[in-house]
């Protein structure tokens, strides 16, 4: 089309993070355990 009169600002976009990012976070959460020993937190990532 030769010219758009509609400005981009009018476009309603749902801004969302990448699916890969969300998937990584969910997997990271499943793999992570935090163990508290003597007031110190130890992070354990299980494979």
């Amino acid at each position: 089309m030769a010219k758009n009169y509609v400005k981009n600002s009018l476009v309603i976009k749902a801004m969302k993070p990448k699916k890969e990012v969300v998937s990584f976070l969910l997997n990271y959460s499943k793999a992570l355990s935090v163990v508290k020993v003597d007031n110190r937190n130890y992070e354990i990532i299980s494979n």
Partner: protein, 195 residues
């Protein structure tokens, strides 16, 4: 899905801390748009925004898993604050926010400009948008439908064709006729649509 909407953030956080991983998924899905949108509004770069979104939730996960979270009922503001701090960290690292101090010899307004459009231009612009919307309302329904979905809702022709139940080519055709008809009306009535 309905059940998820009814569960409060505080309860989801509680469930997650108790070991329900599904609760995190619900929390992320519920707030991802607002949090990501907030980050993107400050960063204007999709990749960096994704990185900051990821770092934000890594902090959230670590805090919740270590039982250090104590702001029940205020989950979203808390996450927003984390992302806000990470945005500041990002700018500190990239040094894109130089610090200027006002002195007798230097005024901050000598380097700051206002790029926003003037009130007059804004009024003209609003009027144009309004005129255009009125013109669009005059289009045949099938053409109007495609044009609105494409231009105002930013949908692809594939998505439009799926929703309207016609082929992509038909959608493209309707869009073409919608634009042609709009131009005809604009030319016929000599409407000025420029600022």
């Amino acid at each position: 899905m309905i059940a998820n909407i009814e569960i409060s953030d505080a309860l989801l956080v509680q469930n997650y801390v108790a070991g329900n991983e599904e609760a995190l998924s619900t929390l992320i899905k519920r707030h991802e748009s607002r949090i990501y949108g907030f980050i993107y509004s400050k960063i204007s770069d999709r990749d960096i925004s994704n990185d900051i979104f990821q770092d934000t939730f890594i902090k959230v996960i670590k805090t919740l898993k270590s039982n250090s979270y104590n702001e029940e009922g205020k989950f979203l503001p808390w996450v927003m604050r984390i992302s806000h701090n990470l945005i500041i960290d990002h700018y500190r690292k990239t040094k894109k926010m130089p610090l200027f101090r006002e002195t007798e010899d230097f005024s901050i307004f000598s380097v700051m400009t206002d790029d926003s459009i003037s009130i007059e231009n804004k009024l003209i612009s609003d009027q144009i948008e309004l005129d255009l919307k009125k013109l669009i309302e005059e289009l045949p329904i099938d053409q109007k439908e495609v044009l609105v979905m494409r231009m105002y809702q930013d949908m692809s022709f594939k998505e439009i064709s799926e929703i309207t139940g016609v082929s992509i080519n038909t959608s493209l055709g309707r869009m073409r006729y919608a634009l042609l008809n709009l131009r005809k009306v604009i030319d016929k009535h000599q409407i000025v649509l420029t600022n």
